[in-house]
């Protein structure tokens, strides 16, 4: 970021110290330093992870944007790059990892699968989009997104960070980040927040099967 972008407009800086002094706001300097040193979590799910590695490698090199420090531990990471198909068997782990990340934290859904299920959407073990479970900041289309597309998505995230302000940031609020309940592996994946709905659904289902059987209309395939 050049001095011009960092400087808060409206404050006159004498020309003789123009390159040594910047007058800025807390928001700007804070966001500037955060967005220039995003540490992504080293966490690959599927095909997109390979393109993520390629983006980290010398040809595309996201170190240019201050993101080269990939941390294998969620406790040291700012950015969860969900790079690939999220399966029902994996989603409890992803939610747990997300919960373990300290605020401020961001989530990028990389690729069609993480954004909405992608080509595997209809699969019985596939979660149609990680946003069913955790909040997502940036969606990157593609299957897999090219490294250029991933870079564009990360720059978009930087822009988002630039526009945040301390006054409204959720991690400075009094009642800080609420923990997302970890889904449970039942006969199908179960979100603990939906237990009531599941119970209703399953009672309704048994009622309809009973009535269908009584009417003799049940149709075994």
């Amino acid at each position: 970021m050049t001095n011009d972008e960092l400087n808060q407009p409206g404050y006159e800086i004498p020309p003789e110290i123009k390159n040594q002094v910047a007058i800025t706001t807390i928001d700007r300097i804070y966001n500037w330093s955060r967005r220039s040193s995003i540490w992504p979590m080293m966490f690959g799910l599927a095909c997109c992870a390979i393109e993520m590695i390629c983006t980290a490698a010398s040809r595309f090199d996201f170190a240019r944007f201050g993101m080269e420090v990939m941390r294998p531990s969620p406790r040291q990471a700012d950015l969860l790059l969900v790079s690939g198909t999220v399966t029902k068997k994996m989603v409890p782990q992803i939610v747990r990892l997300y919960n373990q990340m300290p605020e401020p934290k961001y989530v990028v859904a990389m690729g069609a699968c993480a954004s909405g299920g992608g080509p595997f959407k209809e699969g019985y073990n596939v979660v149609s989009g990680i946003d069913n479970y955790i909040p997502v900041d940036v969606y990157i289309p593609g299957c897999p997104p090219t490294p250029q597309a991933l870079l564009h998505g990360l720059i978009t995230l930087q822009k988002k960070i630039d526009n945040q302000t301390l006054r409204e940031a959720r991690w400075y609020k009094k009642d800080v980040s609420e923990v997302i309940p970890v889904p449970v592996l039942g006969p199908d994946i179960m979100d603990p927040r939906e237990y009531e709905l599941i119970r209703q659904y399953s009672q309704q289902k048994s009622a309809t099967t009973v009535s269908e059987a009584l009417e003799g209309e049940s149709n075994p395939v």
Binding site: P72, P187, S202
Partner: protein, 580 residues
């Protein structure tokens, strides 16, 4: 076993009358074996007929006929075509004797058939679900099992084609997501398995450990599914005595994307882009195997130029895959990302070629039944020639110079994770894993497909079976691939790239076919059953990573826990293919 003369051309139906009969359904091959005589027949096949290599075990659900069929493909490691055995069993009580005592390589494949089709293998030492979790409702590959987003049995769905009234399937689901629950289910009463059965099977091993007189404690350590050295979302659970591995259980399914269920809803051609996403580091090889299987069913041959293009792309894929494998093995050893950067640099050049011919870097979707999708664009031939003749040989020598005699690599790799030749065959290992153990078995030579019989190349083989040899064999194979590439690029003929007119909907006659290729990671097989309809009745992928991982425990046992990472890295797994 080898002293005995190997019987060839035995008619099993004559040898075991009443128990075995020829499979006479149209388009099918092999023998139907009675379940109660199956072990006896399998023993005969292994010991007397020399079929020492069990390639694939899978099941097929013949739904209206109401039976399940367990299908086995046996090969000889000396080369030659397959022997196919099938065991039929009723659907409501599906029990088949387990082959694990005779062929340990069947272990995970049988668990998969149990998980997805509900065939119970009697005598299996550890029959648990493998891809789904314990407690999951139903066996999803059964034909009457429906996923929550079920719309119709086969694509194209009537709602989308030809009229195209598209709606979001989420809107029809009460939860607005991909879930469904059985009737009369109360989530509060549910007790999740939480890997209890997994730990129970480890405890069983723990109690069988020999008592040395010293009082020692064992510890169970989990690694993964989120771990940078598992190459994705793989998980292993090790039982340690001090630092020594006493038992190891791989846990998988964290990337199980239901390839086979979706594949059975798709039309034949729709599966081609899905195969890209199996082993996402080598999509061209995946296309190759699937194209071969369906072409076998259809009885067509691609034209000459297409054959050459296929071989060129498959060998480039092998090089890029092995580069990545070597890079990530060194990552696992602690040479953090520097060798990887060298490897990725060359890989990017190969990806550029793929992008030029197929339009995509990784998911090429380049093969078609009876040919390939596009011809070479302008300038790509020269690029390929320069790469194969100039750049790659030089850069491989450079990598070799930097890595092969490195003191640390030798100290970490030599003598670690040994797999003997006998074990490698018994565990159905394939590809570099098998050849590094001293078995010169390469499908390109042993059971040639496409035009591989025209090229001059050596089957790379190493004899120690340790991590270091598995590293070396990848170097050797890159060099052999470059030899093949040089010949194929030199001889590339002009001509059409597709036999007949390209078409969206191919007509595939009823029958079964098993097409296999020597993919970079090992034997990649596709078992396809067609009933003459637009969608395959059964579509099974015999993935090399999945079967190779069966030998992991044997390789890791007795080694230190720190070496388990190197051993896993030397197998070179890809999760997309392991879990499918």
């Amino acid at each position: 076993m080898m002293e005995q003369a190997i019987l060839t051309d035995v008619d099993l139906a004559e040898k075991f009358p009443q128990k075995v009969k020829r499979d006479e359904r149209k388009g099918y091959e092999g023998y139907l074996v009675d379940a109660d005589a199956f072990l006896q027949v399998a023993q005969f096949v292994r010991d007397e007929m020399g079929y020492d290599y069990l390639s694939s075990v899978t099941g097929v659900d013949y739904f209206p006929e109401n039976y399940l069929e367990s299908v086995y493909h046996f090969y000889r490691t000396t080369g030659g075509p397959a022997l196919v055995l099938k065991v039929q069993t009723p659907r409501d009580n599906a029990v088949v004797p387990s082959l694990v005592p005779l062929y340990p390589g069947a272990e995970f494949q049988e668990r998969e058939a149990w998980d997805l089709l509900g065939i119970r293998y009697e005598g299996h030492p550890d029959l648990r679900r493998i891809l789904m979790w314990e407690g999951f409702a139903g066996h999803p590959l059964r034909k009457d099992w429906r996923e929550p987003y079920y719309e119709e049995d086969g694509k194209p769905f009537k709602s989308r084609w030809p009229d195209g009234h598209v709606y979001r399937i989420e809107d029809k689901n009460p939860f607005h997501k991909n879930v469904d629950y059985p009737a009369d289910f109360d989530p509060d009463q549910w007790a999740p398995d939480n890997d209890a059965s997994l730990y129970a099977s480890l405890k069983k091993i723990q109690s069988s450990l020999s008592d040395s007189g010293l009082k020692t404690d064992t510890v169970i350590v989990n690694m993964g599914p989120q771990h940078p050295s598992t190459h994705g979302v793989f998980r292993m659970v090790v039982l340690l005595e001090g630092e020594t591995i006493r038992a190891l259980k791989p846990v998988m399914g964290y990337l199980h994307r239901n390839h086979e269920k979706i594949g059975e809803r798709n039309t034949f051609l729709m599966n081609m882009p899905f195969t890209d996403r199996l082993d996402y580091l080598s999509s061209m090889s995946n296309n190759f195997g699937y194209a071969l299987a369906v072409e076998k069913l259809m009885g067509i041959q691609p034209p000459e130029r297409a054959e050459y293009l296929r071989v060129i792309m498959a060998e480039f894929t092998r090089i890029s895959n092995h580069l990545f494998a070597i890079g990530s093995l060194l990552n696992d050893l602690g040479a953090y990302f520097t060798p990887m950067l060298y490897a990725i640099e060359e890989r990017e050049l190969i990806l550029d070629i793929f992008e030029a011919v197929a339009g995509s870097r990784m998911m090429c979707n380049y093969f078609r039944f009876g040919g390939v999708a596009r011809d070479l664009p302008e300038g790509v031939y020269e690029k390929m020639r320069d790469l194969a003749y100039e750049r790659l040989p030089r850069r491989i020598d450079e990598l070799d110079l930097y890595l092969t005699n490195n003191e640390i690599i030798r100290a970490r790799c030599e003598g670690v994770g040994v797999l003997t030749a006998e074990d490698a065959i018994a565990f159905s290992a394939s590809g570099p894993l098998l050849r590094a153990s001293g078995v010169p078995y390469d499908i390109r030579r042993a059971d040639p497909y496409s035009i591989y019989d025209r090229f001059e190349f050596d089957v790379a083989v190493r004899y120690h079976g340790d991590v270091y040899d598995r590293y070396l064999i990848r170097m050797d194979e890159i060099r052999q691939s470059i030899r093949i590439l040089q010949q194929a690029i030199r001889d590339l003929p002009e001509g059409p790239i597709q036999s007949g007119k390209p078409q969206y909907q191919v007509r595939v006659p009823a029958g079964e076919a098993y097409g296999r290729v020597e993919a970079p990671k090992g034997e990649l097989g596709y078992y396809v059953v067609s009933n003459g309809k637009p969608n395959p009745w059964r579509y099974h992928v015999r993935a090399p990573s999945f079967v190779n991982i069966t030998a992991l425990e044997t390789m890791a046992k007795g080694n230190k826990v720190a070496d388990s990472v190197a051993i896993l890295g030397s197998i070179d797994i890809v999760l997309g293919e392991l879990d499918r």
